[in-house]
């Protein structure tokens, strides 16, 4: 066993402390303190400007009677069910295409990645214009085709799918890159062996490619799940949670409770429960994919 040099064992190494101080300060101020403080808030009523009042488990019991919170969970669930499969399907398809030697491959790789680096708010505003009922490009195309205009963001049934479509467009570039990296690690000889065994393209995809990129798939599923759970900017800018609360994501609901209505304690309780739900979903997801 290698012995540590005495200078590293010396307690109170000032230079080392100095080096970690910036991050430590950041961690304490912006992560540890808010985490502890929000846990304390769960048991209090506080509107930011008045003094805190102890309410025990009052916030948690209120949550069980809050229909809007449960609706927001359902909305987020619908978003995830639409967004994750759509994202994975499109990203994998495009990654497989871009993995082949096609014309202007580098250009396409750059183009698909571009929305990932553009500000979410900018993209949301652009899509809001596209979806505009009166003057939006999509409805103008439909109109010129002789089809009726669609209230993309005003219809309770269509609003969340419209947002999911936009979110897919924005994020798919990142998952293409991840899948591309995964695909490039699949050994060529596996395909050659499959060819010798007379495997079809379908067989090669399901019995060679998919198992080989399983770790990437787990990563993409978890990342897109976490991204979906944090759905906020899109409904905040495009619909404000409407129509009839059908795009009110849980994060947007927590934000409204905290910063619009000043119910910081209640919002902290919702955030706490929501975090537990996210942990549970991701754990189950991981277990299932690993078994598959």
């Amino acid at each position: 066993m290698t012995k540590l040099s005495p200078k590293y064992k010396k307690p109170g190494n000032k230079v080392a402390y100095l080096m970690i101080t910036p991050y430590l300060t950041y961690f304490l101020v912006f992560m540890a303190f808010p985490l502890v403080f929000s846990f304390v808030l769960i048991f209090h009523k506080w509107d930011i400007v008045s003094s805190m009042h102890w309410v025990g488990l009052g916030n948690l019991s209120r949550m069980f009677h809050d229909q809007l919170f449960f609706q927001s969970l359902i909305n987020t669930g619908i978003f995830l069910l639409l967004n994750i499969p759509l994202q994975i399907f499109i990203a994998l398809l495009l990654a497989m295409l871009l993995n082949e030697k096609i014309f202007a491959r580098s250009f396409f790789r750059a183009v698909y990645f571009m929305p990932v680096v553009i500000s979410g708010v900018v993209i949301t505003i652009l899509w809001q214009q596209l979806y505009s009922e009166q003057n939006g490009v999509l409805n103008l195309i439909l109109f010129h085709l002789g089809l009726p205009k669609i209230p993309w963001l005003r219809s309770p049934a269509l609003a969340m799918p419209s947002i999911a479509l936009m979110a897919t467009w924005k994020n798919v570039g990142l998952y293409i890159i991840l899948f591309l990296a995964g695909l490039q690690t699949v050994p060529r000889y596996l395909y050659e062996v499959a060819d010798l065994d007379g495997a079809s393209s379908f067989d090669k995809f399901f019995y060679v490619t998919l198992p080989a990129i399983n770790p990437t798939l787990i990563l993409v599923v978890i990342l897109s799940t976490l991204g979906g759970f944090s759905l906020f900017i899109e409904p905040f800018v495009m619909t404000g949670g409407g129509p009839m609360g059908h795009t009110m994501s849980t994060v947007l609901y927590i934000y409204k409770e905290a910063f619009l209505f000043g119910r910081m304690g209640y919002a902290a309780s919702l955030a706490f429960v929501y975090t537990l739900i996210i942990f549970a979903v991701v754990a189950v997801q991981r277990k299932i994919i690993e078994q598959e």
């Binding site: 109170g12 000032k14 230079v15 402390y17 100095l18 101080t21 910036p22 430590l24 300060t25 509107d47 930011i48 400007v49 008045s50 209120r62 214009q129 505009s132 009922e133 009166q134 003057n135 109109f143 205009k149 209230p151 005003r154 309770p156 404000g240 949670g241 409407g242 129509p243 009839m244 609360g245 409204k256 910063f259 619009l260 209505f261 000043g262």
Partner: protein, 446 residues
């Protein structure tokens, strides 16, 4: 004492790494720099106060003038004007400022619906403790607005400053060409006129001209320009609450919800938003708005556009004067001030008859002042600006909002039901009003 300090310093050193101490010291200095906005008394005995007016162009011009006049006349009390920092809403900025204790000494852009929360947090100075408050209030504030300014504890924390009665701006030319000579006074007259004015002008099968425009978003504050003024008018001047008791689950609310639902179902209000000004583009024939629209319309109107303002229509069979929402903004002194008396002197200056004339002239908004129309000081202004007379005449018939801390949440609950029923037609007006009232009762109990 010295030995105690030494012991504390030693304890701190044993817990805090040496390198952290300078960082903490710098942080302390920086955080101290982010402290309160209100100013200390200078070495030469001059009191410095900070004043936040609204950040719109017209009110900044007004504030610059007022502050320059004050500073010239009061060398010992100097005011620093700083428009409210920009954000989604000034209420958010003020809330953040209260939380961070960075409020100014004086602010003149206070929405009374927020006063409940500010007062409960003891963030504002109780104004009726000043000796001359009663006389100023009695001389200035019309009787009907005194109730709206009083907090639940019976005291006053705000000075009603300006009001913008919500009325209907309509395109006279479009109305005349549709054969509607006078503006409708009742819901059925409005809907009937709407059917005439809503048209497919180019025959492509798509409607391209509507009677009116309603903001279809479910944001809580957009209801100030549709449901709320219509509710105040239909209820004969009621607000939503009495104390903390819900008052709005009445036939008046149902009538208002049904009026808008019919308007949307019949297509006289578009279920869409426009990227241009639909009134100036002659896409809509009318809109619900306030006196600030006069300056805007005059500045940008296309050639030949003639317009006028009318009162909010009433439900069929409802008699009496039409009331409306006054969209008031008030003045407060924040309790972070170290010079409440000096701040009060400046507040009084902001509401002098001359300052009110400046408010009219520079911002096109109406001061909350008794006998505004009769006062000889303002007569030349109204002669020169006849459109403003209609708004000034509405001042006695305006209402504000109730003073409970949960006002935004109450408007949000109503807005959700208004969207579901009136805009999307997914619920009956009776059901929607009942649901909104139930939710508001829950909010007020919690």
């Amino acid at each position: 004492m010295t030995s105690l300090l030494k012991k504390i310093a030693a304890a701190v050193r044993s817990f805090v790494p040496g390198g952290l101490i300078p960082v903490l010291m710098i942080s302390g200095v920086l955080l101290n720099g982010c402290g309160s906005e209100h100013q200390e008394t200078g070495k030469n005995g001059i009191v410095h106060l900070t004043y936040w007016p609204s950040a719109n162009e017209y009110e900044i011009n007004l504030a610059v003038l007022e502050v320059a006049q004050w500073n010239a006349a009061h060398p010992k009390i100097q005011i620093k004007m700083q428009p409210i920092p920009s954000s989604q809403s000034s209420e958010e900025v003020l809330l953040a400022a209260i939380a961070g204790k960075t409020t100014p000494d004086i602010c003149s852009n206070i929405w009374p619906g927020k006063m409940g929360q500010f007062t409960r947090a003891k963030a504002v100075v109780q104004l009726d403790t000043f000796a001359d408050f009663d006389s100023l209030f009695a001389a200035r504030i019309p009787e009907n607005l005194i109730k709206d300014s009083r907090y639940l504890d019976g005291h006053f924390y705000q000075i009603p400053w300006k009001t913008n009665p919500v009325m209907i701006q309509y395109n006279v030319g479009m109305f005349k060409s549709a054969g509607v000579d006078t503006f409708p006074r009742t819901y059925s007259q409005y809907l009937k006129a709407g059917r005439k004015l809503t048209r497919d002008l180019n025959g492509d099968g798509q409607i391209d001209q509507w009677m009116g425009i309603v903001d279809v978003r479910a944001k809580w504050w957009v209801r100030f320009f549709d449901f709320y003024p219509f509710y105040i008018a239909a209820s004969g001047g009621q607000t939503l609450l009495k104390g903390r008791k819900v008052l709005f689950d009445t036939q008046a609310s149902v009538d208002v919800f049904r009026f808008f639902q019919t308007g949307f179902n019949e297509g006289i209000f578009p279920r869409a938003r426009f990227q241009t000004d639909p009134f100036l583009m002659k896409i809509v024939a009318s809109r619900f708005t306030g006196p600030w629209e006069i300056a805007h319309t005059e500045k940008y109107k296309p050639k030949g556009l003639t317009y006028d303002f009318a009162q909010i229509p009433l439900p069929d069979g409802k008699k009496g004067h039409s009331y409306t929402y006054g969209d008031p903004k008030n003045i407060v002194i924040f309790s972070t001030t170290k010079h409440a008396y000096e701040a009060w002197q400046f507040v009084k200056f902001l509401v002098t008859p001359k300052a009110d004339l400046n408010l009219l002239k520079l911002s096109g908004q109406l001061p909350v002042r008794k006998g505004l129309m009769e006062d000889s000081l303002y007569r030349p202004y109204f002669r020169k600006n006849p459109m403003m007379v209609k708004f000034a005449k509405m001042i006695p018939f305006t209402r504000g909002v109730d003073s409970v801390p949960e006002m935004e949440e109450i408007f949000d609950a109503i807005s959700l039901e208004f969207e579901a029923s009136a805009i999307l037609g997914k619920r009956t007006p009776e059901d929607a009003v009942k649901r909104a009232a139930k939710r508001c009762r829950q909010i007020l109990i919690e």
